[in-house]
Amino acid sequence: MSLQFLVDGILAGALIGLGAIGVTLTYSILRFANFAHGEFLTFGAYATLLIAGALGAIVPDAGQALGPFSVGWAVIAASLFAMALTAGLALALDRCLFLALRFRGAAISTVIASFGASMALRALIEFAFTSRPAYFTRELQIAIPLGFGLRATPDQIALLALTALLMIGVHLMLTRTNIGRAMRAVSENPALARVTGVDVERIIRMTWALGGALACAAGVMLGLIVQIRPFMGFDLLLPLFAAAILGGVGSVPGAVVGALVVGLGEAATVEFAGSQWRAAVAFAVLILILLVRPTGLFARPT
């Protein structure tokens, strides 16, 4: 038996975790399941691809691979632009679609609207870029041994480190800053947050922007490790929700732990049961947690 599946699982978990943080924040603060979140990942990956291509064409050497990694600074710079763009997309969607539905109180119409937005965005992306997979780089990377027979490529190691940094950053922002406290307050009790002086609409906009930016980061990483295609985000939607619900909606550490459980579960299933069972893992986790502990592992007190 090889323990390599642990590396794959942690990597998958980190990716899911980045997306799941956005899901758990928007879910708890906006009080609806945003099915278009997967498309934020896809949009971010394609936006990065486009901008990196443009940078590579304008600036010589921008596409040159950096050190042991497979991509150059063009992709890194492009992903920062794309994070801002994806944040903008999330804000635009809120402004044009969800704002009108927010005060009517029917959460189900908002969920269905997000489902429609998801389909429309996916179709647009497919129309613009075709359904053929795209890649940030064609370069092959040699996995380096980590000991105990485990291997990972430099890209994978860098992505893990970056994901950990982003997660810690978001956690510190939520626990230590005024904006973070205001986000937690709105998620727990919007009316009390209002009388405590929180501009709830502003916090909602910031939550969208943050969720969009993190989704873009996850999309770029997924694109780097696997490939970029119009369904990449949609196919990740179920694991994202499974992770967010397993961790307890609203909890960032919970989303990360939930994502690692789903990621490791998927990798272990592929290793021991066969890859055809991989997609069942997120379903199984979701059903199990809803039956046993619907509030999630990190449920907050009331």
Partner: protein, 253 residues
């Protein structure tokens, strides 16, 4: 314009409710002068809670005016009302249970200028010693009395002109009720105007300066707290029932 002096909250023929055409508060007027404790009494459904919620910005106002220090704040959103000096502690869910005591206070301090924040938090921790001891505990783990104190501290932290409390004694033992009301008397001495909704009429009238009795969304009676407590006809109409209500509520909780 305010009727008399600064810090005055003036509510003028206010109509408020959640459904258009179905007002719960139907033309209520009241005045609370600076440093006064004014209590709102009345049977269940009289519109007391909706009135304070409307003043705080949580219930839609369809007619009438609310002024604070002569400034019209009727149509400000709730967070802007807080900034202009209206603090409100609702009856239930009045603290952020998933946040620590200190984070509840830090959250409220964010609307103050940065240089005043730490100072106001320290002032609250000095005033509410119980909270200082539990500063890192999640608010959801506090006892009922401590939770009420945190709700008052959270509201008071922003150094408001008027502090509105919706039934601060609900669900508390008589000893704790006494603690809450003596705290209110202490707060009033600092010049804060207090508008109080209470079912516990006896305890509230003991600390209040004046009282308004509402029924069916309208003014029914107003006068000095002592007069009201002594008036047998008013007592029979509202307070007798309420005194019984207090005992019943004690059993229920």
């Amino acid at each position: 314009m305010s009727v008399d002096g600064s810090g005055a909250l003036v509510v003028d023929r206010l109509v408020a409710g959640y459904e258009p055409g179905l007002p719960i508060v139907n033309g209520v007027s009241l005045v609370a002068k600076q440093g006064e404790i004014v209590v709102l009494l009345g049977p269940n459904g009289a519109g007391k809670s909706t009135l304070v919620k409307a003043v705080a910005g949580l219930a839609p106002i369809s007619e009438g005016r609310v002024t604070l220090d002569g400034r019209d704040i009727t149509s400000l959103p709730a967070h802007a009302k807080a900034k202009s000096g209206v603090a409100f502690a609702p009856q239930t869910e009045n603290v952020f249970a998933a946040m620590s005591v200190i984070d509840n206070l830090k959250l409220a301090s964010a609307i103050l200028p940065p240089r005043l924040r730490a100072e106001r938090i320290q002032a609250m921790l000095a005033m509410f010693a119980d909270l200082a001891r539990q500063r890192d505990l999640l608010a959801g783990r506090l006892s009922g009395g401590q939770r009420q104190m945190l709700a008052i501290a959270r509201a008071l932290l922003i150094d408001p002109k008027v502090l509105m409390l919706d039934e601060p004694s609900a669900g508390l033992s008589p000893k704790l009720v006494e603690g809450v009301f003596s705290k209110l008397a202490e707060i009033r001495k600092r010049g804060v105007t207090i508008l109080l909704v209470e079912q516990n009429a006896k305890a509230a009238l003991a600390v209040a300066d004046r009282a308004y009795v509402l029924a069916e969304g309208r003014n029914r009676f107003e006068g000095g707290a002592a007069d009201l407590a002594a008036d047998p006809s008013i007592g029979a109409l509202y307070l007798g029932r309420l005194a019984g209500g207090v005992a019943r509520r004690g059993l229920r909780s």
